[in-house]
Each structure stands twice: as structure tokens, then as C-alpha cells.
């Protein structure tokens, strides 16, 4: 026998995205323990002996935000560079979580604080992250942007009932580009199963808007592509 292979730690790190005041935000925690104390990082933690990585992701999500219901969670990819964590061989499974606006987060036990940051602050490099978390963040963000095109994922950013305009605001916030309201409305309502009308309307200083909930369809065929991609 060469070497004991059972000497790795496995972690789950989360890229939690939400939309606050029409701007895409990511949840970050200020680290309260070594290593990288005081730096901002993705929320996450070690996989426990009886857990799979998805359970770890849900647990960490609940610790930081207080909720798991109604949140979309999907695996992005795994990062395993030998030197990515100074504590030793820590392999991390990255998860993308999309949530409706959740309010202020609560810092976990090993964090000094937690807050929502505009993704542009991280993308621009104005805010640097611990470990390889910038790369993880970038991969997850691109996944979210790409998936809006061919899936019904955008509804994951909305409350259970929403208007077409709210859904359009999701696309505009995630892609960072304006979307034509008329064509968007035709596209969405013309895709059977994407959204279903509730019959209710909501009033807000103009013609009342129909309320919808997400429909059974998860794949958009044909896709709704972002401009100049």
C-alpha cells in the first residue's frame, strides 16, 4: 500500500445570488477564524461524516439566511488544487443558490459578519475574496447567466407569485442589459408551461399587472438568448 487515500477534507461553498432593488447581489461572509481572518469569502463549511455535499450546502444556507424552502440549489463544479487551502487538502464542491430577496443575512459561528454585496463589486475586483473564491464566484455567476437563456431558472429569483415585469427585472439584473418589455411579455406568455396566471392582479400606478406562478416547464424551447453573446 502506498499512501492512505483517506486524508482529504471535503467542503461545500455557496454562491448565493439574489436581487435587491433591481441589482444582483451575492452573499458573502467576513471570516472570523483562521485562515484569512477578516477577508470576505463565500459561505460554506466542511461536509460532515454522515452528510453528502448537498446536505452540507443546505445546512450552510439555512445557517446564513434562515431559509432553504423556495431556494434553487444546484452544483457547479469541484475545486481541488493541492494548495488552494493552507490547512491542507481541502476539496470543495461549489453550489449555486438562487433566492428571492431574503432580507439581511446572519453571520454563522465562524464568521464576523455577513452581508449582500453587489456582484459588480466582486466582478470588478474592487472587493477581493479569500482562497480561490473569486474563480468559484465567476464560474457560478456565468452558470446562472447562461441558464437563464435555456431554462425557467429566473423564477427562482421571484416570490411564489410575480408579475411579468418582475420576471423581466430578473433578466435585466442578472444579465446587466435592458430587455424589451413587449417582446419579453410575448416570449414568456407564449411559452406554454413557463408561467401560469393566478387570476390575481396587482396595482402599482399604472395598468394593473397579472400575477403568475412558475409553471411545470423547466427547459425553454426555443431559448431566450441574451444580446451579443
Amino acid at each position: 500500500m502506498d499512501v492512505d487515500p483517506f486524508s482529504f477534507a471535503v467542503a461545500a461553498d455557496l454562491v448565493v445570488l439574489t436581487i435587491r432593488e433591481r441589482v444582483l447581489h451575492v452573499l458573502l461572509v467576513e471570516r472570523g477564524i483562521e485562515p484569512a481572518v477578516g477577508m470576505w469569502a463565500l459561505p460554506g463549511g466542511f461536509v460532515l461524516p454522515e452528510e453528502d455535499a448537498e446536505a452540507t450546502a443546505y445546512r450552510e444556507l439555512a445557517e446564513e439566511t434562515g431559509v432553504t424552502a423556495g431556494v434553487h440549489l444546484e452544483q457547479v463544479r469541484t475545486y481541488s488544487a493541492p494548495d488552494r487551502d493552507p490547512r491542507g487538502r481541502v476539496v470543495t464542491v461549489a453550489w449555486l443558490a438562487l433566492a428571492p430577496d431574503l432580507g439581511e443575512p446572519s453571520a454563522g459561528s465562524d464568521a464576523r459578519s455577513a452581508r449582500w454585496w453587489p456582484v459588480s463589486d466582486v466582478e470588478s475586483g474592487a472587493l477581493s475574496l479569500a482562497f480561490d473564491h473569486v474563480a468559484i464566484f465567476g464560474d457560478a455567476l456565468e452558470r446562472a447567466r447562461a441558464k437563464l437563456e435555456y431554462s425557467a431558472l429566473a423564477t427562482a429569483f421571484c416570490p411564489p407569485e410575480f408579475t411579468i415585469a418582475q420576471l423581466r427585472a430578473v433578466y435585466e439584473a442578472v444579465w446587466g442589459v435592458p430587455v424589451d418589455p413587449r417582446n419579453f411579455h410575448r416570449k414568456i406568455t407564449g411559452t406554454p408551461g413557463f408561467v401560469e396566471p393566478t387570476g390575481e392582479v396587482v396595482r402599482d400606478g399604472g395598468r394593473p399587472a397579472q400575477l403568475f406562478r412558475r409553471g411545470p416547464v423547466s427547459q425553454l424551447q426555443p431559448p431566450f438568448t441574451r444580446p451579443e453573446h
Copy 2:
């Protein structure tokens, strides 16, 4: 401190696909050591202390096929169910590899034999796999099928120089559906940067076909969608 988190093994498992005689095949090994001796499984192995998971995948690929150059390798996802391996907590990172027809594989040290199997034998359930390898295989196969639509991945199944008909055979083998030769030709040659003509031709009992090599473009815009998806 609760529990030592450094008690996991991390493995890399490979779904290696190739096309042999117009049929999509997957590389499988017959296990020669416990557990699951005698069962067919995906090739793979443990990540070593100084490696990242990608290096492990390349190493295993070289051991089984003898080559790594010219092979497309990409991460699929990670499987971490606590009971997925009877030896203990083994988390595996799955990789998708696409290769031109490579000839017969060689069994690694812990394998009794290795061979190419038609993917239909695994998909149909006629051949069952060890551990959770059927699920891994299914996820990787679907990834390959989906990526043909919006990327230039199909060229990874071809030798450095190929004809449009060869490339079309890739789509037909992976998707399992016929593709119209005329529309395919127009679509491929009409997408700038997908393939580049070498100027050479190849003769095979009809009008000679132009040879092409892959171009710099990796994303297909607009995509080439499979029928009735």
C-alpha cells in the same frame, strides 16, 4: 473541535466516449480488486496527495488508453453520497472525455480487462455497472449530447483532419438520430470559425470531400439543436 474533517478519499472517475464504426462507445473496465470484483465500472482512481482531480483524470486516461493528447476532458459533477462506496467516505469527481477512435484499451493494474462498450448496452440496462456508475454515466452522456448543440465539441471525436461527413457521423452517433447532410453542410460551413478547410481532399468512391480542421470558435451561435428535444 468535533470531528477531524480530513477523513475523506477523493477519486476521479472517467466517462470516456468514442465513436467506433458509427456507434458511440464508452470505455469500461472489469474490476480486478475488491469491492465489486468482476463487475464493469468506469475507469478511475484516487487523487494522490500532490495532484488535483484533473491530473488524476489525465493519469487514469493515459493508463487505460495510452494517450492524453488530442482528448477533450471536462468536469461533469461530483458524487458524495455517504454510502456510495463500501470502503468508506469516497467522494468522486466525474470527468467526461471525448476522443477519436483510439483502438483497444489496456487494463490498468487493478482491472481484469478493459474494453469499449456501445453506450446503448449501458443505457438499456443490459449491462449494469458497479457503485453509482450508471448515474455518473448517464449525467456525462447527457452533458455530451447537450454540448454538441451549442459548442464545437463534436470535433473532439474526430482526428485532426476530417470531412464534413465524418463530423456529421459524430452528431448522428451521439444523438442517435439521422441528420440531413445538405442542411448540416450549410450550417457547419456557414458558421465562421467552427471548421477551417485544409485545402486537401479525400477520395472514397464519390465526389472527393474537402478536409477540415477545427477552427478557433468553441461556442456555436446560433446552436444546432437536435430534433424534438
